[in-house]
Symmetry: C2
Subunit: 243 residues, 2 copies
Protein backbone atom coordinates (compact mmCIF):
# COMPACT_ATOMS: atom_id res chain seq x y z
CA UNK A 1 0.00 0.00 0.00
CA UNK A 2 1.37 3.40 -1.00
CA UNK A 3 1.01 5.91 1.76
CA UNK A 4 1.83 9.45 2.81
CA UNK A 5 1.24 10.72 6.32
CA UNK A 6 0.94 14.48 6.82
CA UNK A 7 2.13 15.00 10.39
CA UNK A 8 1.51 18.00 12.64
CA UNK A 9 4.36 18.15 15.16
CA UNK A 10 2.98 20.92 17.38
CA UNK A 11 4.91 24.06 18.31
CA UNK A 12 8.40 22.57 18.21
CA UNK A 13 9.61 20.81 21.34
CA UNK A 14 9.18 17.04 21.70
CA UNK A 15 6.71 17.45 24.61
CA UNK A 16 4.24 19.13 22.28
CA UNK A 17 4.15 16.16 19.88
CA UNK A 18 1.41 13.55 20.09
CA UNK A 19 2.21 9.85 20.35
CA UNK A 20 0.59 9.38 16.92
CA UNK A 21 2.87 12.02 15.37
CA UNK A 22 5.96 10.40 16.87
CA UNK A 23 4.82 6.94 15.71
CA UNK A 24 4.21 8.23 12.16
CA UNK A 25 7.72 9.68 12.00
CA UNK A 26 9.27 6.55 13.54
CA UNK A 27 7.52 4.30 11.01
CA UNK A 28 8.34 6.29 7.88
CA UNK A 29 11.23 5.73 5.45
CA UNK A 30 11.76 9.42 4.75
CA UNK A 31 10.95 12.69 6.52
CA UNK A 32 9.94 15.49 4.16
CA UNK A 33 9.38 19.12 5.18
CA UNK A 34 10.42 22.74 5.36
CA UNK A 35 14.13 22.98 6.24
CA UNK A 36 13.54 24.46 9.73
CA UNK A 37 11.03 21.78 10.71
CA UNK A 38 13.26 18.97 9.47
CA UNK A 39 16.01 20.49 11.66
CA UNK A 40 13.60 20.28 14.61
CA UNK A 41 12.63 16.63 14.18
CA UNK A 42 15.65 14.95 12.60
CA UNK A 43 17.66 14.85 15.88
CA UNK A 44 14.86 12.64 17.27
CA UNK A 45 15.17 10.25 14.33
CA UNK A 46 18.86 10.48 13.36
CA UNK A 47 18.73 7.34 11.23
CA UNK A 48 16.00 8.64 8.90
CA UNK A 49 16.54 9.93 5.43
CA UNK A 50 15.25 13.50 4.97
CA UNK A 51 14.19 15.75 2.11
CA UNK A 52 13.93 19.45 2.95
CA UNK A 53 12.88 22.45 0.89
CA UNK A 54 12.86 26.16 1.67
CA UNK A 55 10.02 28.62 2.24
CA UNK A 56 7.48 29.24 -0.54
CA UNK A 57 8.34 25.87 -2.10
CA UNK A 58 5.27 24.20 -0.64
CA UNK A 59 3.85 22.93 -3.92
CA UNK A 60 7.17 21.42 -4.95
CA UNK A 61 7.60 19.89 -1.51
CA UNK A 62 4.16 18.28 -1.48
CA UNK A 63 4.51 17.00 -5.04
CA UNK A 64 7.90 15.46 -4.25
CA UNK A 65 6.45 13.87 -1.10
CA UNK A 66 3.63 12.34 -3.18
CA UNK A 67 6.13 11.19 -5.82
CA UNK A 68 8.25 9.48 -3.16
CA UNK A 69 5.16 7.79 -1.73
CA UNK A 70 4.11 6.71 -5.21
CA UNK A 71 7.53 5.11 -5.71
CA UNK A 72 6.87 2.95 -2.67
CA UNK A 73 8.58 4.93 0.10
CA UNK A 74 6.71 5.46 3.37
CA UNK A 75 6.65 9.25 3.62
CA UNK A 76 6.03 11.47 6.65
CA UNK A 77 5.45 15.06 5.51
CA UNK A 78 6.21 17.18 8.56
CA UNK A 79 4.33 20.42 9.37
CA UNK A 80 4.72 22.65 12.41
CA UNK A 81 1.63 23.08 14.58
CA UNK A 82 -1.34 21.28 13.07
CA UNK A 83 -0.95 19.72 9.62
CA UNK A 84 -4.42 20.96 8.65
CA UNK A 85 -4.46 24.56 9.92
CA UNK A 86 -2.51 26.51 7.27
CA UNK A 87 -0.59 23.22 6.92
CA UNK A 88 0.28 21.02 3.98
CA UNK A 89 -2.64 18.58 4.22
CA UNK A 90 -4.82 20.62 1.85
CA UNK A 91 -2.11 20.98 -0.79
CA UNK A 92 -1.38 17.23 -0.65
CA UNK A 93 -5.06 16.48 -1.32
CA UNK A 94 -5.15 19.05 -4.13
CA UNK A 95 -2.12 17.44 -5.81
CA UNK A 96 -3.20 13.87 -5.14
CA UNK A 97 -5.15 13.45 -8.39
CA UNK A 98 -1.91 12.60 -10.21
CA UNK A 99 -1.11 9.91 -7.64
CA UNK A 100 -4.32 7.88 -7.36
CA UNK A 101 -2.67 4.89 -5.64
CA UNK A 102 -1.28 6.93 -2.73
CA UNK A 103 -3.36 6.82 0.41
CA UNK A 104 -3.29 10.07 2.44
CA UNK A 105 -3.44 10.10 6.22
CA UNK A 106 -3.50 13.33 8.23
CA UNK A 107 -2.16 13.26 11.81
CA UNK A 108 -3.28 16.46 13.55
CA UNK A 109 -1.14 18.43 15.99
CA UNK A 110 -1.37 21.26 18.51
CA UNK A 111 -1.78 24.48 16.52
CA UNK A 112 -0.31 27.84 17.60
CA UNK A 113 -3.78 29.07 18.61
CA UNK A 114 -3.78 26.41 21.34
CA UNK A 115 -0.11 26.48 22.33
CA UNK A 116 0.04 30.29 22.33
CA UNK A 117 -3.19 30.53 24.30
CA UNK A 118 -1.76 28.17 26.93
CA UNK A 119 1.23 30.48 27.39
CA UNK A 120 -0.93 33.61 27.66
CA UNK A 121 -3.60 32.18 29.97
CA UNK A 122 -6.96 31.24 28.46
CA UNK A 123 -7.92 33.71 25.71
CA UNK A 124 -9.92 31.14 23.68
CA UNK A 125 -12.45 29.87 26.22
CA UNK A 126 -15.20 31.19 23.96
CA UNK A 127 -15.84 31.48 20.19
CA UNK A 128 -12.95 32.78 18.09
CA UNK A 129 -11.63 33.37 14.59
CA UNK A 130 -8.24 32.40 13.20
CA UNK A 131 -6.99 34.78 10.50
CA UNK A 132 -3.63 34.92 8.72
CA UNK A 133 -2.28 38.38 7.87
CA UNK A 134 -0.18 36.98 5.02
CA UNK A 135 -1.40 38.36 1.69
CA UNK A 136 0.86 36.09 -0.37
CA UNK A 137 -2.15 33.92 -1.31
CA UNK A 138 -5.05 36.07 -0.09
CA UNK A 139 -6.11 39.54 -1.30
CA UNK A 140 -5.57 42.10 1.49
CA UNK A 141 -9.16 43.34 0.99
CA UNK A 142 -10.47 39.91 2.04
CA UNK A 143 -8.22 39.92 5.11
CA UNK A 144 -9.60 43.35 6.05
CA UNK A 145 -13.17 42.15 5.61
CA UNK A 146 -12.52 39.13 7.81
CA UNK A 147 -11.00 41.30 10.54
CA UNK A 148 -14.01 43.67 10.43
CA UNK A 149 -16.52 40.81 10.57
CA UNK A 150 -14.68 39.02 13.39
CA UNK A 151 -14.60 42.20 15.49
CA UNK A 152 -18.26 42.91 14.68
CA UNK A 153 -19.09 39.35 15.85
CA UNK A 154 -17.28 39.89 19.17
CA UNK A 155 -15.09 36.88 18.47
CA UNK A 156 -11.68 36.53 20.05
CA UNK A 157 -9.18 36.66 17.19
CA UNK A 158 -5.94 34.79 16.63
CA UNK A 159 -3.61 36.27 14.03
CA UNK A 160 -1.17 33.92 12.32
CA UNK A 161 1.74 35.40 10.32
CA UNK A 162 1.20 38.85 11.90
CA UNK A 163 4.18 40.34 10.09
CA UNK A 164 7.39 39.62 8.26
CA UNK A 165 10.27 41.66 6.91
CA UNK A 166 8.29 42.59 3.79
CA UNK A 167 5.05 43.21 5.69
CA UNK A 168 6.30 45.26 8.61
CA UNK A 169 3.17 47.40 9.07
CA UNK A 170 0.51 44.70 8.56
CA UNK A 171 -0.18 44.19 12.26
CA UNK A 172 -0.60 47.95 12.70
CA UNK A 173 -3.00 48.09 9.76
CA UNK A 174 -4.95 45.17 11.24
CA UNK A 175 -5.14 46.91 14.63
CA UNK A 176 -6.46 50.08 12.98
CA UNK A 177 -9.29 48.07 11.41
CA UNK A 178 -10.09 46.33 14.70
CA UNK A 179 -10.05 49.67 16.54
CA UNK A 180 -13.00 50.79 14.38
CA UNK A 181 -15.12 48.31 16.37
CA UNK A 182 -13.14 47.42 19.49
CA UNK A 183 -11.98 49.54 22.41
CA UNK A 184 -8.29 50.39 22.72
CA UNK A 185 -8.48 48.71 26.14
CA UNK A 186 -9.31 45.31 24.62
CA UNK A 187 -6.98 42.77 26.21
CA UNK A 188 -4.46 41.34 23.74
CA UNK A 189 -1.38 39.14 23.86
CA UNK A 190 1.59 37.98 21.84
CA UNK A 191 3.18 34.54 22.08
CA UNK A 192 6.54 34.14 20.38
CA UNK A 193 8.80 31.20 19.59
CA UNK A 194 6.37 28.86 21.33
CA UNK A 195 8.04 25.66 22.49
CA UNK A 196 11.42 26.83 21.18
CA UNK A 197 14.46 28.66 22.47
CA UNK A 198 13.59 32.24 23.41
CA UNK A 199 9.90 31.52 24.06
CA UNK A 200 8.11 34.64 25.35
CA UNK A 201 4.58 35.83 25.99
CA UNK A 202 3.24 39.27 26.78
CA UNK A 203 -0.22 40.66 27.62
CA UNK A 204 -1.15 44.23 26.60
CA UNK A 205 -4.01 46.40 25.34
CA UNK A 206 -5.09 46.67 21.72
CA UNK A 207 -3.82 50.27 21.72
CA UNK A 208 -0.42 48.99 22.89
CA UNK A 209 -0.47 46.13 20.39
CA UNK A 210 -0.83 48.70 17.59
CA UNK A 211 2.54 50.15 18.62
CA UNK A 212 4.29 46.79 18.98
CA UNK A 213 6.52 45.12 16.40
CA UNK A 214 6.23 41.39 15.96
CA UNK A 215 7.85 38.90 13.63
CA UNK A 216 7.00 35.74 11.73
CA UNK A 217 7.64 33.60 14.83
CA UNK A 218 4.81 35.30 16.75
CA UNK A 219 1.12 34.57 17.16
CA UNK A 220 -1.15 37.44 18.20
CA UNK A 221 -4.32 37.14 20.30
CA UNK A 222 -7.05 39.80 20.48
CA UNK A 223 -9.59 39.26 23.23
CA UNK A 224 -13.33 39.67 22.86
CA UNK A 225 -15.05 42.53 24.75
CA UNK A 226 -15.36 40.33 27.89
CA UNK A 227 -11.72 39.20 27.98
CA UNK A 228 -10.04 40.17 31.26
CA UNK A 229 -6.53 40.61 32.49
CA UNK A 230 -5.93 38.40 35.54
CA UNK A 231 -2.43 39.05 36.85
CA UNK A 232 -0.16 38.76 33.82
CA UNK A 233 -2.58 36.53 31.92
CA UNK A 234 -5.45 37.14 29.47
CA UNK A 235 -8.62 35.17 30.20
CA UNK A 236 -11.87 35.02 28.23
CA UNK A 237 -14.86 33.89 30.33
CA UNK A 238 -17.00 31.04 29.02
CA UNK A 239 -20.21 33.02 29.17
CA UNK A 240 -22.61 35.27 30.98
CA UNK A 241 -23.64 32.98 33.83
CA UNK A 242 -20.07 32.26 34.91
CA UNK A 243 -18.28 32.84 38.18
Amino acid sequence: MKKITVVGIGPGEEGGMTLAAIAAMRECDILVGYTKYIELVSPLFPEKETFATGMKQETERCREALRLADSGRKVALVCSGDSGIYGMAGLVYELSGAFPEVEIKVVPGVTAASSGAALLGAPLTHDFAVISLSDLLTPWELIEKRLRCAAEAELSIVLYNPSSKKRKDYLQRACDILLEKLSGDTVCGIASRIGREGETSCVMTLAELRETETDMFSTVFIGNPTTKRIGDRMVTPRGYRDV
Copy 2:
Protein backbone atom coordinates in the same frame (compact mmCIF):
# COMPACT_ATOMS: atom_id res chain seq x y z
CA MET B 1 5.25 24.86 45.38
CA LYS B 2 1.47 24.50 45.00
CA LYS B 3 0.52 23.66 41.47
CA ILE B 4 -2.38 22.75 39.22
CA THR B 5 -1.90 21.63 35.63
CA VAL B 6 -4.85 21.97 33.27
CA VAL B 7 -4.27 19.23 30.72
CA GLY B 8 -5.78 18.88 27.24
CA ILE B 9 -5.81 15.19 26.34
CA GLY B 10 -6.90 15.53 22.70
CA PRO B 11 -9.83 13.68 21.18
CA GLY B 12 -9.69 10.59 23.39
CA GLU B 13 -7.31 7.85 22.32
CA GLU B 14 -3.79 7.69 23.73
CA GLY B 15 -2.23 8.40 20.32
CA GLY B 16 -3.80 11.86 20.31
CA MET B 17 -2.16 12.86 23.59
CA THR B 18 1.04 14.88 23.65
CA LEU B 19 4.09 13.74 25.60
CA ALA B 20 3.65 16.80 27.86
CA ALA B 21 0.05 15.83 28.65
CA ILE B 22 1.05 12.27 29.50
CA ALA B 23 3.93 13.53 31.66
CA ALA B 24 1.61 15.93 33.54
CA MET B 25 -0.81 13.11 34.33
CA ARG B 26 2.00 10.74 35.29
CA GLU B 27 3.51 13.31 37.68
CA CYS B 28 0.29 14.32 39.44
CA ASP B 29 -1.11 12.99 42.73
CA ILE B 30 -4.74 13.20 41.64
CA LEU B 31 -6.60 13.32 38.32
CA VAL B 32 -9.63 15.61 38.37
CA GLY B 33 -12.19 15.90 35.56
CA TYR B 34 -15.57 15.25 34.02
CA THR B 35 -16.60 11.63 34.66
CA LYS B 36 -16.32 10.54 31.00
CA TYR B 37 -12.82 11.98 30.59
CA ILE B 38 -11.59 10.41 33.83
CA GLU B 39 -12.89 7.10 32.45
CA LEU B 40 -10.79 7.70 29.31
CA VAL B 41 -7.51 8.42 31.10
CA SER B 42 -7.63 6.43 34.35
CA PRO B 43 -6.90 3.06 32.64
CA LEU B 44 -3.55 4.60 31.58
CA PHE B 45 -2.76 5.57 35.17
CA PRO B 46 -4.50 2.89 37.26
CA GLU B 47 -2.58 3.79 40.41
CA LYS B 48 -3.76 7.42 40.47
CA GLU B 49 -6.41 8.79 42.76
CA THR B 50 -9.26 10.43 40.81
CA PHE B 51 -11.99 12.99 41.48
CA ALA B 52 -14.78 13.10 38.89
CA THR B 53 -17.86 15.31 38.60
CA GLY B 54 -20.75 15.29 36.12
CA MET B 55 -21.76 17.67 33.35
CA LYS B 56 -22.56 21.30 34.18
CA GLN B 57 -20.54 21.03 37.40
CA GLU B 58 -17.57 22.80 35.90
CA THR B 59 -17.31 25.54 38.52
CA GLU B 60 -17.46 23.06 41.39
CA ARG B 61 -14.90 20.82 39.64
CA CYS B 62 -12.42 23.65 39.06
CA ARG B 63 -12.84 25.02 42.60
CA GLU B 64 -12.26 21.56 44.08
CA ALA B 65 -9.21 21.10 41.86
CA LEU B 66 -7.81 24.42 43.12
CA ARG B 67 -8.64 23.48 46.72
CA LEU B 68 -6.79 20.17 46.35
CA ALA B 69 -3.79 21.98 44.87
CA ASP B 70 -3.91 24.53 47.69
CA SER B 71 -3.80 21.67 50.21
CA GLY B 72 -0.52 20.53 48.66
CA ARG B 73 -1.68 17.86 46.22
CA LYS B 74 -0.26 17.89 42.70
CA VAL B 75 -3.41 18.17 40.60
CA ALA B 76 -3.93 17.39 36.90
CA LEU B 77 -7.29 18.78 35.76
CA VAL B 78 -8.15 16.80 32.65
CA CYS B 79 -10.05 18.30 29.68
CA SER B 80 -10.90 16.67 26.36
CA GLY B 81 -9.43 18.27 23.26
CA ASP B 82 -7.55 21.43 24.16
CA SER B 83 -7.67 22.68 27.74
CA GLY B 84 -8.03 26.26 26.52
CA ILE B 85 -10.63 25.99 23.73
CA TYR B 86 -13.97 25.79 25.57
CA GLY B 87 -11.89 24.01 28.24
CA MET B 88 -11.40 24.53 31.95
CA ALA B 89 -8.28 26.73 31.83
CA GLY B 90 -10.30 29.95 31.80
CA LEU B 91 -12.49 28.96 34.73
CA VAL B 92 -9.43 27.94 36.76
CA TYR B 93 -7.90 31.37 36.21
CA GLU B 94 -11.19 33.07 37.08
CA LEU B 95 -11.44 31.15 40.36
CA SER B 96 -7.75 31.42 41.19
CA GLY B 97 -8.05 34.68 43.14
CA ALA B 98 -9.06 32.71 46.25
CA PHE B 99 -5.97 30.51 45.93
CA PRO B 100 -3.10 32.96 45.46
CA GLU B 101 -0.37 30.41 46.24
CA VAL B 102 -1.41 27.97 43.54
CA GLU B 103 0.58 28.18 40.33
CA ILE B 104 -1.43 27.40 37.19
CA LYS B 105 0.07 25.65 34.18
CA VAL B 106 -1.90 25.00 31.00
CA VAL B 107 -0.85 22.07 28.79
CA PRO B 108 -2.57 22.44 25.41
CA GLY B 109 -4.00 19.56 23.39
CA VAL B 110 -5.36 18.75 19.95
CA THR B 111 -8.80 20.38 19.73
CA ALA B 112 -11.74 18.87 17.80
CA ALA B 113 -11.30 21.48 15.03
CA SER B 114 -7.93 19.88 14.25
CA SER B 115 -8.75 16.22 14.90
CA GLY B 116 -12.10 16.44 13.08
CA ALA B 117 -10.51 18.27 10.15
CA ALA B 118 -7.88 15.52 9.86
CA LEU B 119 -10.65 12.91 9.53
CA LEU B 120 -12.56 14.92 6.92
CA GLY B 121 -9.57 15.94 4.80
CA ALA B 122 -8.30 19.51 5.10
CA PRO B 123 -11.20 21.94 5.62
CA LEU B 124 -9.14 24.44 7.67
CA THR B 125 -6.26 25.24 5.34
CA HIS B 126 -7.42 28.85 5.35
CA ASP B 127 -8.96 31.31 7.87
CA PHE B 128 -11.81 29.97 9.98
CA ALA B 129 -14.12 30.63 12.91
CA VAL B 130 -14.91 28.31 15.81
CA ILE B 131 -18.43 28.79 17.21
CA SER B 132 -20.30 26.78 19.84
CA LEU B 133 -24.05 26.34 19.31
CA SER B 134 -24.63 25.83 23.03
CA ASP B 135 -26.76 28.65 24.44
CA LEU B 136 -26.30 27.54 28.05
CA LEU B 137 -23.86 30.41 28.67
CA THR B 138 -24.33 32.50 25.52
CA PRO B 139 -27.45 34.32 24.31
CA TRP B 140 -28.75 32.70 21.11
CA GLU B 141 -28.87 36.14 19.45
CA LEU B 142 -25.07 36.45 19.82
CA ILE B 143 -24.58 32.98 18.34
CA GLU B 144 -26.76 34.01 15.36
CA LYS B 145 -24.76 37.20 14.89
CA ARG B 146 -21.49 35.28 14.93
CA LEU B 147 -22.76 32.79 12.35
CA ARG B 148 -23.90 35.66 10.07
CA CYS B 149 -20.59 37.51 10.40
CA ALA B 150 -18.51 34.34 9.83
CA ALA B 151 -20.47 33.52 6.66
CA GLU B 152 -20.22 37.16 5.49
CA ALA B 153 -16.44 36.98 6.03
CA GLU B 154 -16.18 33.80 3.91
CA LEU B 155 -14.53 32.00 6.81
CA SER B 156 -14.68 28.23 7.11
CA ILE B 157 -16.71 27.52 10.23
CA VAL B 158 -16.34 24.82 12.88
CA LEU B 159 -19.39 24.25 15.07
CA TYR B 160 -18.81 22.78 18.53
CA ASN B 161 -21.79 21.40 20.49
CA PRO B 162 -23.97 21.39 17.34
CA SER B 163 -26.92 19.86 19.17
CA SER B 164 -28.05 17.93 22.22
CA LYS B 165 -31.25 16.29 23.37
CA LYS B 166 -32.64 19.63 24.53
CA ARG B 167 -31.39 21.54 21.50
CA LYS B 168 -32.42 19.19 18.69
CA ASP B 169 -33.08 21.85 16.04
CA TYR B 170 -30.13 24.15 16.72
CA LEU B 171 -28.00 22.88 13.85
CA GLN B 172 -30.94 23.33 11.48
CA ARG B 173 -31.45 26.89 12.75
CA ALA B 174 -27.74 27.58 12.29
CA CYS B 175 -27.84 26.20 8.71
CA ASP B 176 -30.82 28.45 7.90
CA ILE B 177 -28.81 31.49 8.99
CA LEU B 178 -25.75 30.38 7.00
CA LEU B 179 -27.93 29.74 3.93
CA GLU B 180 -28.81 33.46 3.89
CA LYS B 181 -25.22 34.08 2.74
CA LEU B 182 -23.84 30.73 1.56
CA SER B 183 -24.89 28.47 -1.30
CA GLY B 184 -26.67 25.21 -0.50
CA ASP B 185 -23.82 23.51 -2.39
CA THR B 186 -21.22 24.70 0.13
CA VAL B 187 -19.12 21.67 1.09
CA CYS B 188 -19.66 20.59 4.72
CA GLY B 189 -18.69 17.69 6.93
CA ILE B 190 -19.43 16.03 10.25
CA ALA B 191 -16.85 14.24 12.39
CA SER B 192 -18.25 12.14 15.24
CA ARG B 193 -16.74 10.31 18.20
CA ILE B 194 -13.26 11.37 17.04
CA GLY B 195 -10.57 9.03 18.40
CA ARG B 196 -13.15 6.89 20.18
CA GLU B 197 -15.18 3.78 19.46
CA GLY B 198 -17.64 4.38 16.63
CA GLU B 199 -15.61 7.19 15.01
CA THR B 200 -17.22 8.37 11.77
CA SER B 201 -16.88 11.21 9.28
CA CYS B 202 -19.11 12.27 6.43
CA VAL B 203 -18.89 14.96 3.74
CA MET B 204 -22.09 16.56 2.39
CA THR B 205 -23.54 19.85 1.13
CA LEU B 206 -24.86 22.61 3.38
CA ALA B 207 -28.37 21.83 2.09
CA GLU B 208 -27.88 18.21 3.17
CA LEU B 209 -26.38 19.24 6.50
CA ARG B 210 -29.57 21.18 7.23
CA GLU B 211 -31.50 17.90 7.06
CA THR B 212 -29.01 15.90 9.14
CA GLU B 213 -29.29 15.11 12.84
CA THR B 214 -26.15 15.27 14.92
CA ASP B 215 -25.43 14.78 18.60
CA MET B 216 -23.20 16.19 21.31
CA PHE B 217 -20.33 13.91 20.22
CA SER B 218 -20.13 15.55 16.78
CA THR B 219 -18.17 18.47 15.36
CA VAL B 220 -19.52 20.14 12.24
CA PHE B 221 -17.45 21.81 9.51
CA ILE B 222 -18.81 24.31 6.98
CA GLY B 223 -16.45 25.10 4.13
CA ASN B 224 -15.77 28.53 2.72
CA PRO B 225 -16.95 29.34 -0.83
CA THR B 226 -13.72 27.86 -2.28
CA THR B 227 -13.86 24.56 -0.37
CA LYS B 228 -13.94 21.57 -2.72
CA ARG B 229 -14.93 17.97 -2.51
CA ILE B 230 -12.02 15.74 -3.51
CA GLY B 231 -13.16 12.11 -3.48
CA ASP B 232 -14.82 11.64 -0.10
CA ARG B 233 -12.87 14.48 1.52
CA MET B 234 -13.46 18.22 1.98
CA VAL B 235 -10.49 20.43 1.14
CA THR B 236 -10.10 24.20 1.47
CA PRO B 237 -7.35 25.64 -0.79
CA ARG B 238 -4.73 27.90 0.80
CA GLY B 239 -5.37 30.76 -1.58
CA TYR B 240 -5.78 32.12 -5.05
CA ARG B 241 -2.37 31.37 -6.48
CA ASP B 242 -2.47 27.70 -5.56
CA VAL B 243 -2.29 24.56 -7.69
